[in-house]
Structures are given as structure tokens and as C-alpha cells.
């Protein structure tokens, strides 16, 4: 992201607002399987419940995603983190940050909250081991000052998990 992904508390632009309303309507008509949007009147922050897919390591577990939208959504990616407790996963840090390329460098404005959710669930589902990333402690310590995952210089481990 070239422009500052600064404090995501800047109000949504008109375009962002319109687009999010459309996404909200679409979600209500056709929510992605395994997700539940917890209704609030805050368009800029969505809290979404994820159910681990049956037959995976996370079956019967429920987690919460918090999605914050920047002023210039969808030109800029939303910030997506797990609220504690975050699932044990090789690409999910204990502070809830998720190492997933589409949330950062590979974001595209044609993606939606719904498509992001599906990617996250598929990332969970394909995991073969419940453990934290190798650099978890170092990374989490670096984020103590409340740094957003969008300010992290991520390098993406691999495409398999």
C-alpha cells in the first residue's frame, strides 16, 4: 500500500460507504458458509463469527474475526485479525494477526469481505498441525505498541498452508 494505511479510524469515503452497504446486503442475501456477521450499526468495523469446517482440525471451534475498513476501501485492503483467542495455526500469531498475502500485497479491489472470509477458512482448513508460527514471540513483541498487521513487512511462508 503506497498511501498510509494509518489509523483506520478515518471515516469511510463515500465510495467506500456505498460499496460496503452493497457488500452488507449481499452478505445478508447470501452469506458465505460457516460465517455469521454479528450485526452492529458500525459499517466500518465488522465482527464475524467463523466456525471451523467439519472434518478439519478446527471442527466445532468458533472464532471471531474483526474486519476494519480504511477510508479508501476497496482501493486499500481491510485490516483483518482474529479476536483473542486466535486459532492455533502456523500462519496465525497469538495476537490475532494473520499472515495471508491477500490481506496485504495481494489485495485487489475486486475482492470482498466474503471472499476474504472464504480464503481464511480455507487457510484454516488446510492446516495439518495446530501450532503458532515459528517467529510468534518476536513478532508479537514487536507489535506491542499496537501496530497494525498492515504495517508489517510480511513475507509469505508458502502457498500450501
Amino acid at each position: 500500500m503506497t498511501s498510509s494505511s494509518a489509523p483506520s479510524r478515518k471515516a469511510l469515503s463515500k465510495i467506500a460507504c456505498n460499496r460496503l452497504q452493497k457488500e452488507m446486503v449481499e452478505w445478508q442475501v447470501n452469506p458465505p458458509a460457516g460465517f455469521k456477521h454479528k450485526v452492529t450499526d458500525n459499517l466500518q468495523r465488522w465482527v464475524i463469527e467463523v466456525s471451523g469446517a467439519p472434518g478439519t482440525l478446527y471442527a466445532n471451534e468458533i472464532y471471531q474475526l474483526q474486519v476494519d475498513f480504511p477510508e479508501h476501501y476497496p482501493m486499500e485492503a481491510p485490516q483483518v485479525i482474529f479476536l483473542p483467542p486466535a486459532p492455533l495455526h502456523p500462519h496465525i500469531y497469538s495476537n490475532g494477526h494473520i499472515c495471508l498475502d491477500i490481506l496485504y500485497d495481494s489485495w485487489s479491489p475486486a475482492m470482498t469481505v466474503s471472499s476474504v472470509c472464504i480464503s481464511i477458512l480455507s487457510m484454516l482448513s488446510s492446516s495439518t498441525v495446530k501450532q503458532r508460527p515459528a517467529d510468534n514471540d518476536r513478532y508479537v513483541k514487536n507489535c506491542r505498541n499496537g501496530r497494525s498487521p498492515k504495517e508489517t513487512r510480511w513475507w509469505f511462508h508458502d502457498d500450501k498452508v
Binding site: 500500500m1 503506497t2 498511501s3 469515503s13 463515500k14 465510495i15 460507504c17 456505498n18 460499496r19 452497504q21 452493497k22 457488500e23 452488507m24 446486503v25 449481499e26 445478508q28 442475501v29 447470501n30 450499526d41 459499517l43 479508501h72 476497496p74 482501493m75 486499500e76 500485497d105 485487489s108 479491489p109 475486486a110
Partner: protein
């Protein structure tokens, strides 16, 4: 799905519940893949993905790391974008104002191949000239600037008729495009060789005249009765 939504997060009643995603499926085909509105100053990439020009421009120039299509990641070359020109709207774009602080240049214009040639023009001309021999100069002289092949073909019979009958009314006999008749009559020299379409036209003309006459009579009667 354009407009419709107020500022509040009011939820319209779900249209047919089975419909997937796109609220209004018909309009969905013409929604920009970035803002999800009906595309404004629409532009299509070579990979076939539709965007508002301001949306795509802003993405390519201010946010993306590479020149790729937001939908399919195909390479996007600006000089190969295709604008869509629908009916009616001018190119002024109110949306560019809603991307504050960014100057969005004019949408690339279409690349127009040269005008298609008239389908049979040469064929007819050649055919006609070869066939008619010495009559051509006279024909062109009389026709003046009717140089189109169809008009040419169509006018032959009328010239013919003018020659032999002195009918000044070229339109009645001429423009109903009966060149087979025309050519034949030239060669055969039948004095009464009217092209058939023409006589039909004449009949129609007469019917029309009669109709007008009747109407005229009615009008006069009406006036008298008042």
C-alpha cells in the same frame, strides 16, 4: 442495484432468495468490479473485465503494485483498454470528483478501424458499366451526382422511361431499385417495359391520392355544416 440504498444500513427485502450474490442480476453484468456500481465511463480490459474508468485509473496509478486486472490478474495495458459507448450520455464524469485530490485524465478513446467498404459497390459498378456500354455517359450526365451504385442501378429504368415516354417523375419509377428490369429494358428497348415494383408503387400512390381526396371532401363538408 444502482442507487436504492439510503445512508442507513437499511436492508431491502431479499429478492428471490435463491439468487446468488448479485442483488439485481441483470444490472450485475454492468457493474464495475471495483465500486460495484453501474459502471460509469465504462471501460473493458482485454481480459473482458468491466470497470469505471476512474476506479480502474485510481487503482492502477495510486494503489496497485503491478499493472494487473483486479479480477483475474492479467496484465493491463492502458493503451489496450476498450471504452464502452452506450447511448445518450456525455463523457462528463461526476464520479471523478468523489476521488478527491486525484486528477483523473480522460478515458482512453476507442480505436476505430477504418470505415467498412460498401459491400457490393465495385461489383455493381463494373457489371453495370460493362453491360451498358455506350449508354453510360448519357446516364451519368442525366443523373448528375448520383454516383452510388444502388442509386445508379435504380435510376436506369427511370432514365429509360424518360427517354421513351418523357415521364418527368423519376421517383415513381426509378428508386424502387429494379435494376434487372432496368438493364433488360435498356437492351431490349421495350417501350412499355415498366419495372414491376414501380407500377406497384404507382398504385399505392393512387390509393394515397384517393384517400387524401376523401379526407379533403370530409373536411370541406364539415366546414360547410358548421
Amino acid at each position: 442495484m444502482e442507487g436504492g440504498l439510503g445512508e442507513s444500513t437499511s436492508v431491502p427485502p431479499p429478492q428471490s432468495p435463491s439468487c446468488s450474490g448479485n442483488g439485481a442480476n441483470d444490472a450485475g453484468d454492468f457493474e464495475c468490479n471495483i465500486c460495484f456500481e453501474l459502471a460509469q465511463d465504462p471501460i473493458v480490459t482485454l481480459c473482458g473485465h468491466l470497470f469505471c474508468w476512474p476506479c480502474l485509473y485510481r487503482w492502477l496509478h495510486h494503489h496497485s503494485h503491478s499493472q494487473e486486472c483486479p479480477v483475474c490478474k492479467a496484465l493491463v495495458e492502458e493503451e489496450k483498454l476498450v471504452p464502452l459507448y452506450g447511448r445518450g450520455k456525455t463523457q462528463s464524469d461526476p464520479r471523478s470528483k468523489s476521488y478527491p485530490g486525484i486528477d483523473i485524465p480522460h478515458r482512453p478513446s476507442g480505436q476505430r478501424p477504418e470505415t467498412a467498404p460498401l459491400p457490393d459497390a465495385n461489383q455493381f459498378a463494373n457489371y453495370g458499366f460493362g453491360f451498358m456500354g455506350g449508354f453510360v455517359p448519357m446516364a451519368t450526365a442525366r443523373i448528375g451526382n448520383f454516383t452510388l451504385a444502388t442509386a445508379f442501378g435504380g435510376l436506369i429504368p427511370s432514365l429509360f422511361n424518360i427517354q421513351f415516354h418523357g415521364f418527368p417523375d423519376a421517383t415513381v419509377y426509378g428508386t424502387t431499385s429494379g435494376f434487372p428490369y432496368g438493364f433488360h429494358s435498356f437492351h431490349g428497348g421495350h417501350a412499355h417495359g415498366f419495372p414491376q415494383p414501380s407500377s406497384r408503387g404507382q398504385q399505392a400512390d393512387n390509393v394515397l391520392k384517393n384517400l387524401l381526396l376523401v379526407i379533403g371532401v370530409f373536411v370541406i363538408l364539415a366546414l360547410l355544416c358548421w
